[in-house]
Subunit: 220 residues, 2 copies
């Protein structure tokens, strides 16, 4: 395992969970927040001396790989603050879901859906960024510790650039995802299905009473 510089956009539960695990694995992580002095960003840095907290731009500039773990409805604004110059040429792992919690039931419909997706919006807005959609179909604890669930289970991935997906497969492997459990769905347009899976995921969560679950692809 080669230590990498990783920029985490977002200091919410998902961003902190992934960042903590990446630090534990030996990576050099900057967690970027809208307000780097916020208690949760500063608190994370205080608890993780090997990591740092900064602004969105600091995290994006730092990372060879950048992870978008902001709220999906705020991702484009966060990336604008991070700056296209900070992001150009980098692999961006988009783990966000564009759930609009201001509308409808607590299960929030999607703010973008059906003939577009957040990942595609990001790729269109930042053509020099190598966007890979991944990890958005499981809860943060399962993202970083797939062994929480028994037996094999499946992670979906989509992106236009094979080399960028290879980088992501490598990082996922360090988190505990065997390459054989990662299903490459093809180009970034396949992010539509990955994001539109969220309402089913939320219904499953409601039926099961837990977020610690995933699906395993079964084929003949």
């Amino acid at each position: 395992m080669v230590p990498m510089k990783i920029g985490m956009l977002g200091s919410g539960r998902v961003g902190r969970t992934i960042a903590s695990r990446l630090v534990e694995l030996g990576h050099d992580v900057v967690v970027g927040a809208r307000d780097p002095d916020s208690p949760r960003a500063a608190g994370w840095a205080a608890e993780h001396p090997a990591g740092r907290a900064g602004a969105f731009r600091d995290a994006a500039s730092h990372g060879e790989v950048v992870v978008n773990a902001t709220a999906g409805t705020a991702s484009l604004a966060a990336l604008a603050v991070a700056g296209s110059d900070s992001l150009a040429g980098k692999v961006l792992v988009d783990v966000a879901n564009p759930l609009d919690f201001t509308r409808g039931s607590g299960r929030g419909p999607l703010a973008v859906t059906n003939d577009d997706s957040l990942a595609e919006q990001i790729q269109r807005a930042y053509p020099a960024v190598r966007v890979v959609k991944a990890l958005n179909t499981v809860t943060a604890d399962v993202m970083v510790r797939p062994e929480l669930l028994p037996g094999p289970h499946t992670l979906f991935m989509a992106g236009d650039e094979p080399a960028a997906k290879q980088v992501v497969v490598g990082l996922l492997g360090e988190l505990g995802w065997p390459a054989g459990d990662i299903l490459d769905l093809g180009g970034i347009q396949a992010a539509r299905g990955m994001e539109m899976y969220l309402p089913l995921w939320l219904s499953m969560m409601g039926a099961l009473g837990t977020t610690i679950f995933n699906v395993h692809l079964v084929r003949s």
Copy 2:
């Protein structure tokens, strides 16, 4: 197993596949088509002497249980022809997906999605019908022969009436779905997630090069 009168709305591949299996199991099935003299409806009846072909209204009137296997974008029109008097009080198993193949890529976005679903539209239009969404997340061959796939895999179900869901669980059991592999997601609103899963299913189909697959829910 108690033989039931079942009305199949739709004589396409899905309707014929389910109808054939139900006849094989000993049920009394009428396949309803827009044009009952069409080669595929009449041909099905000729090949299945225990079954019959008829108009949508014939199938709906015949069935104690009615299955909606029409194209999702044509379902409301088909049900209108079948007639609310023919459908009232009956269990309607909605296996349709509202894929709009006239728009976008061959992977068709959904004609209704996000804050509504086909199953909810049907339930609203026919409040006296006991709508249960089921089977729409697998291909027709897997619907009727889940043993095509190794090991357990999961079928989702949603509907407002527990007694109607029990009827459906019984029929699914005859098709080979153990009750323990059927996940009841709750009320009919959960059909949103089941229908919005289709774009992911279509991407998986593209990546795998087969329709013979499903997902298995893995929990801790």
